[in-house]
């Protein structure tokens, strides 16, 4: 009985935590960008502007729930739902601490890869259903970008799988008790980080929604809470990438003195801050540069990493 209660508490707690902290990330990101640009950012609503999220939510909910008359209505409504669902579902396999985590799949890593692949559909559906040239161009870019970067997103993780000998994320964390995988798999960590940023299409890889060229890319026609779901989906995906890096490369909840959950959250927030810093610092590449970078630099590096790790594991 108590295990059922614990399960429900786990599921609800993690769902609420993930969605709420993704919403808070919008505020964190704006404050941090403000700090790095020598200004304040939102600091008016509540102490340090922390209630800005609530104000934004109220604004988005009060907006007219507009579906353009030329849009494919069903697909248009489904797309943001997929965007939100896929990333939250992917978060289910993240082991946050001993006993905290929704589900322990044998194939947790593959589940994560499958779910991030599915998120390409949300962007493509949204773009296609909008019947808008900017959305279509954004959707095409998103599809090509996500498919290209998924290749070495997966390949870069295989070194970790080889070292740990399992696809189970909890066992991967436990395999890092001697040494975090970031040391033998440093290159893979960099590749995964870059691919993760590209998968959550954030700056510098935000070509699907490049404001200057495509107004807002695939979500040009979206407004109100449907836009909000795309938005929150993006931030959950940031959180997901950071958590996944912590689990795979930075020893998950492992660490001295502090309780495991604190270690996990600490490491995750440092990586999230790093992603925000990258957004604040780096410019967006041209589209052909993005593709060339993915296929000509990152993919060969992932292959080399795979082969070298394989040889070292055998020897």
């Amino acid at each position: 009985m108590s295990s059922i209660t614990a399960n429900i508490l786990n599921v609800v707690g993690i769902l609420v935590f993930v969605v709420a902290s993704a919403a808070m990330l919008t505020w964190v990101e704006r404050r941090m960008l403000g700090i790095w640009q020598e200004r304040y950012g939102p600091n008016r609503v509540g102490p340090f502007g922390i209630l800005q999220v609530a104000a934004d939510m109220i604004k988005l909910l009060m907006k007219e729930d507009w579906v353009p008359p030329f849009a494919d209505r069903f697909v248009f409504v489904v797309a943001p739902t997929i965007a939100m669902f896929v990333v939250v579902a992917a978060y289910a396999v993240i082991p946050m601490a001993p006993g905290i985590g929704v589900i322990d799949l044998n194939i947790g890593l593959l589940f994560f890869l499958a779910m991030t692949s599915l998120s390409a559909y949300s962007v493509m559906f949204g773009a296609y259903a909008s019947d808008n040239k900017y959305a279509l161009l954004g959707g095409l870019r998103a599809a090509a970008q996500m498919l290209s970067y998924e290749v070495f997103l997966g390949l870069s993780l295989m070194g970790v799988v080889m070292l740990a000998g399992t696809f189970n994320l909890r066992e991967i964390v436990l395999a890092q008790q001697e040494q975090w995988f970031v040391i033998p798999q440093f290159l893979a960590m960099l590749l995964f980080f870059i691919a993760g940023i590209a998968e959550s299409h954030r700056t510098p890889f935000d070509l699907p929604e490049a404001e200057h060229e495509l107004t807002a890319g695939f979500h040009t026609e979206y407004s109100g809470m449907k836009f909000g779901m795309f938005f929150i989906g993006e931030y959950v995906s940031v959180l997901l990438t950071a958590s996944m890096m912590v689990v795979l490369f930075f020893g998950g909840w492992l660490g001295p003195v502090l309780p495991p959950l604190v270690w996990f959250l600490l490491k995750t927030s440092i990586l999230v801050l790093l992603m925000i810093l990258i957004r604040g610092a780096l410019p967006r590449p041209r589209y052909d540069q993005l593709m060339a970078f993915g296929w000509k630099v990152m993919l060969p590096l992932a292959m080399i990493n795979l082969v070298v790790t394989g040889v070292l594991v055998l020897v």
């Binding site: 700090i35 790095w36 610092a281």
Partner: protein
Amino acid sequence: MSQIGRAVYLTWDYTWSTLRTLWDVASHTFAKRDTVEYPDEMPYLAPRHRGRIVLTRDPEGNERCVACNLCAVACPTDCISLQKTEDETGRWYPEYFRINFSRCVYCGLCEEACPTYAIQLTPDFEMAEYNRQNMVYEKEHLLISGPGKYPDYSFYQVSGKAVSGRAKGEGLNEAKPVNVKSLLP
């Protein structure tokens, strides 16, 4: 071989510049912020700031404006309107002087055009109104009690202007009129 060398060089160059950029941006974390949180904290406005327009008086306390209309002519938005009248000595002054601040662009051309330093722009910009008609300022709103930016300047004492009763340069403390044909100072 040179192609590989170039690839290695570019990889290093791009990696290094990316990392340096990240470090440069991160180093702004503890930098002083440029923002002045205006309604809580008043920003410093220079004395030459071009804000609300005033009409000033000369050191004796008389109106400086001589109703020459040069400000109204110079005004690119035609927001200044005035009517000339005379007092019993024949000295010109404006009967009414009206500035429509809902049209004014605070360019300062009226101040530059003014031969008597009567019209001046001041460092005050907090002029918001709920009713557009309240943005039209009449002479009693514009006229201030002091000389503004040029405390010692009095047009009639330095320019040599004939008014009824005395000729050019004959008034009290009045300088002789400038001989514009001469090169001497």
